[in-house]
């Protein structure tokens, strides 16, 4: 289960890339497509998450939703 603290930290990272993201609107079900992320935005965000959470996200990770990212952060943080 993704905890809300991780989600809040993630929202902060994402809002740095997308100015129009309303605070509190990011959910695990949010898709990166709906955030208008292209493949390089996703790479930028993966790198930002690696810095923020001290985890390593595999280069070929297929991320469709915020939950996909939370799973990877939780898995490697353990």
């Amino acid at each position: 289960m993704a905890n809300s603290e991780t989600l809040a930290r993630l929202e902060k990272i994402i809002s740095e890339y997308k100015d129009d993201l309303e605070p509190g609107t990011l959910t695990p079900e949010t898709t990166f497509e709906s955030l208008d992320f292209d493949s390089l935005d996703i790479v930028d965000m993966m790198m930002a998450c690696e810095d923020e959470f001290g985890v390593e996200i595999p280069e070929d990770a297929q991320l469709k939703t915020v939950q996909d990212l939370l799973n990877l952060i939780d898995k490697t943080e353990e």
Partner: protein, 319 residues
């Protein structure tokens, strides 16, 4: 004693190929290329030679510096390959210029100009030279796989040169290398009746995702290191000239370092990635636009195949 930059010059082949032109060759679009890379067009060699464009860039740099070819003590050409495997591009330039000094090529791919500056720094430190020409050039259009849309849209041809004279403008220079085939160009197949090794297909091969991450993290780490080692905070840096590989790489690194876009000039829209030539082409663009002033602090950072990187901090000493 190290060096100062006395003059710069650059040259691009005459033919421009727009993104729409590229869409006639491979399945791509102006929209994809522009939004993923910032590239709008690239210059490619038709009937020019790499030697010719390098010669033109070198002549322009010599003209700006007021140094004559006969006064040069060394010619260094950063390139992955001139017109010949041998002789070197540098020897061809020496001949065209009518210079008489030693001449050698340096291959560090896109980081070549910074590697060239490091060699030059050593030559000045040994007091072997008053003037050194570093003329970087690339004819990458010859080395691409023109059927691979994920790479052929990214590169262009060009040359950029700097004439260096004795001085103390160089504050910092740091090179890295980490052997990897993540970005590579195979050799042209030979005709030896004995060789049994499998010959790779023609053309540049790249793991775009890995190179993207390498680029962003290298720029970020190397510029931070440069700032720490020189004691010059980013607020005191006037211009950050990055290797022109992808606008998105520059934007992502600038964001991490909180560098305002006006400090990070770009030429990628019209040149695409010209490998070793990219930093000196950008430097020449900025110099000729009058953006560089005496006393300005410049940070240069390039990265590329190898994997290599090079980072320099220097003071601009021209008016």
């Amino acid at each position: 004693m190290s060096f100062t930059i006395l003059g710069t010059g650059s040259a691009l082949p005459a033919k421009t190929v727009t993104n729409d032109d590229m869409a006639k060759l491979v399945e791509t679009s102006d929209e994809w290329i522009r939004t993923r890379t910032g590239i709008r067009e690239r210059h490619v060699i038709t009937d020019e030679s790499v030697t010719e464009i390098t010669f033109t860039a070198a002549q322009r740099a010599l003209e700006m510096s007021g140094v004559s070819p006969q006064e040069l003590d060394y010619i260094i050409c950063p390139t992955v390959g001139g017109d010949w495997i041998s002789p070197s591009l540098a020897c061809m330039i020496q001949e065209r210029l009518g210079a008489t000094c030693p001449a050698v090529d340096v291959n560090a791919a896109c980081s070549g100009f910074l590697y060239g500056l490091d060699y030059a720094d050593g030559i000045f430190a040994r007091k072997r030279a008053k003037y050194v020409l570093v003329a970087a050039a690339e004819g990458l259009s010859r080395l691409l796989n023109w059927k691979d849309r994920s790479t052929c849209v990214l590169f262009g041809d060009g040359a950029g040169a700097a004439v260096l004279g004795e001085g103390d403008s160089l504050r910092y220079l740091h090179l890295t290398a980490k052997g990897s085939l993540a970005l590579h160009v195979p050799h042209a197949p030979g005709e030896s009746p004995f060789e049994t090794n499998e010959q790779p297909p023609h053309g540049l091969v790249m793991d775009g995702r890995e190179i993207y991450r390498f680029a962003v993290s290298t720029i970020t780490a190397e510029l931070r290191r440069a700032s720490e080692e020189t004691g010059i905070p980013f607020e005191k840096v006037d211009h950050v000239l990055l290797h022109q590989a992808n606008q998105r790489i520059m934007d992502a690194a600038s964001k991490k370092l909180h560098l305002p876009p006006e400090k990070v000039p770009s030429s990628i829209a019209r040149t695409a990635n010209t490998s070793a030539a990219s930093v000196p082409i950008l430097l020449d663009q900025e110099a000729r636009l009058g953006h560089l002033h005496r006393g300005d602090i410049l940070m240069l950072c390039a990265f590329g195949a190898g994997l290599t990187s090079g980072t320099a901090v220097l003071e601009w000493t021209r008016d």
